[in-house]
């Protein structure tokens, strides 16, 4: 099975509300996590990352929370806008040296309702 998974495959929110997308990971050795946004017909785009020595990191309208105790990652989007509609992936970085690679979760489709 996949080492990175998402709790909800789809999420619908009203425009202006906050969105929370969750992700569970299984490998306690993972030390780096990234959230990507993929709009329809495009490649994944980096949103925000966090290292395992941090619990929280904030960007512009986005916050990533990391709970290593329960191996859980979340992405919070403040004041969700129509342009936020996309598939969101969490990814964990495993391995060492040149063999480090990203393992992606299955994605959550976020739909922003008018």
């Amino acid at each position: 099975g996949e080492s990175v998974g998402l709790h909800l495959p789809t999420l619908s929110v009203q425009e202006g509300d906050n969105s929370i997308i969750n992700c569970a990971y299984s490998n306690s050795a993972s030390d780096y996590f990234i959230w990507y946004k993929q709009e329809s017909g495009k490649g994944p785009q980096f949103i925000i990352d966090i290292r395992s020595n941090m619990d929280k990191r904030q960007g512009q309208r986005v916050t990533v929370l990391l709970n290593k105790t329960v191996k859980h990652l979340s992405l919070q989007i403040a004041a969700t806008q129509p342009g936020d509609s996309a598939v969101y992936f969490c990814a964990e970085n495993l391995g060492s040296g040149s063999a480090r690679q990203l393992t992606f979760g299955s994605g959550t489709q976020l739909t922003v309702l008018p």
Binding site: I34, K42, P44, F46, Q101
Partner: protein
């Protein structure tokens, strides 16, 4: 200025054919990757190259052969295409293995 580019964007071909997808990055990155995204949006790494050297080769049929003529290019050649090869293929690059990856726009391959 496109950071990671792929050609073609769409590729429709018949079973048994051989096709190539090209990827170029102008970011000066050392590491490049190929991913396959299936119809359920699941992204799986296929290969990674670091300075033209193959680093990661996941369980991929040997009909798939990556080639890196230089650090800025990583092409994917597929022999004897099968229906199950239909997917979107993404190229990506990063400054080094484990760093943030930048993705290309994808190549939608349809095998009929």
């Amino acid at each position: 200025d496109t950071a990671v580019s792929q050609t073609p964007k769409y590729l429709v071909t018949q079973m048994g054919n051989d096709k190539s997808i090209k990827c170029e990055q102008n970011l000066g990155h050392d590491t490049m990757y190929w991913y396959k995204q299936d119809s359920k949006k699941f992204l799986k790494i296929m290969f990674s190259y670091n300075n033209k050297e193959l680093i990661i080769n996941e369980t991929v049929p040997n009909r798939f052969s990556p080639k890196s003529p230089d650090k800025a290019h990583l092409n994917l050649h597929i022999n004897s295409l099968e229906l199950g090869d239909s997917a979107v293929y993404f190229c990506a690059s990063s400054q080094y293995s484990g760093a943030e990856q930048y993705f290309g726009p994808g190549t939608r391959l349809t095998v009929t």
